[in-house]
């Protein structure tokens, strides 16, 4: 393959990461501008409406809004998981982009127990934020 063909492929490979970044920037800007704390700006999540329970993702929009305004404490109050997940997702996006750009990133795969622990933590969070004694701390 010629050098220019390699260059072209590289730009093609960067299209998907660029599209994801664009969607993320637009979404976060919209969330920052249109306050999800005020009722009526966004529809109620169907899972909350149907089941009456908070799911592990409930409060994510409000958490992202708070983070966009620099209010980390407010974001943690809305959804701890989202606050933890966002930097990790940004890192995964960076690694994906770097790999698409031809950089080799060597990293050790996460140990299985850590991912099992994560799945367990999500389920515990799901249950705990719906328990009345814990709801003041964990519910959005």
């Amino acid at each position: 393959m010629t050098r220019s063909a390699v260059e072209t492929n590289r730009w093609t490979a960067l299209r998907a990461p660029a599209a994801v970044a664009a969607v993320a920037v637009v979404s976060v800007s919209y969330l920052a501008a249109v306050n999800p704390h005020e009722g009526g700006n966004y529809p109620t999540c169907p899972s909350l409406l149907l089941t009456g329970f908070y799911c592990p993702g409930c409060g994510s929009l409000r958490a992202i809004h708070d983070l966009a305004h620099g209010d980390v404490v407010g974001a943690l109050d809305m959804n701890i998981l989202a606050v933890i997940a966002i930097p990790w997702l940004v890192w995964r996006w960076y690694a994906w982009t770097a790999a698409a750009a031809g950089r080799t990133i060597t990293r050790k795969p996460a140990p299985a127990w850590a991912i099992y622990a994560l799945a367990g933590a999500i389920v515990v969070y799901w249950i705990a934020r719906n328990l009345p004694p814990l709801a003041p701390y964990l519910a959005p």
Binding site: S47, G57, S60, P111, W113, I115, L118
Partner: protein
């Protein structure tokens, strides 16, 4: 008349090159977590557990098993996303339907 020899069987799909230093198959953990947070469905949790299996099986040398778990992780993330999109579509149809009903009955 000589029979036309049957075409040679297609070469078997080369197995992913396992080995020390090799990378495990993509465990699709990003999709598992995204669909868990965005879709609020138990399928996302299944996807995360399958992602854990990928890394566990790979670490213990079960490369075929890791590949199977990676595919399962992908499948459950897709199921979660499709069901969530379906629920949201039904939800919006329901909201619009209620809006139409209330506007016509008032």
């Amino acid at each position: 008349m000589s029979e036309i020899p049957p075409p040679p069987p297609p070469p078997a799909f080369p197995p992913p090159s396992p080995g020390v230093g090799g990378a495990p198959p993509a465990n699709n953990l990003v999709w598992g977590i995204l669909t868990t947070i965005l879709c609020c469905l138990p399928f996302g949790i299944v996807s995360i557990i399958k992602a854990a299996e990928v890394n566990g099986k790979w670490a213990s040398g079960d490369y075929a098993g890791a590949q199977a778990s990676a595919e399962a992780a992908k499948k459950w993330a897709i199921v979660s996303a499709i069901v969530a999109v379906g629920v949201w579509i039904l939800y919006f149809v329901f909201i619009v339907g209620l809006g139409v009903l209330s506007s016509t009955s008032s």
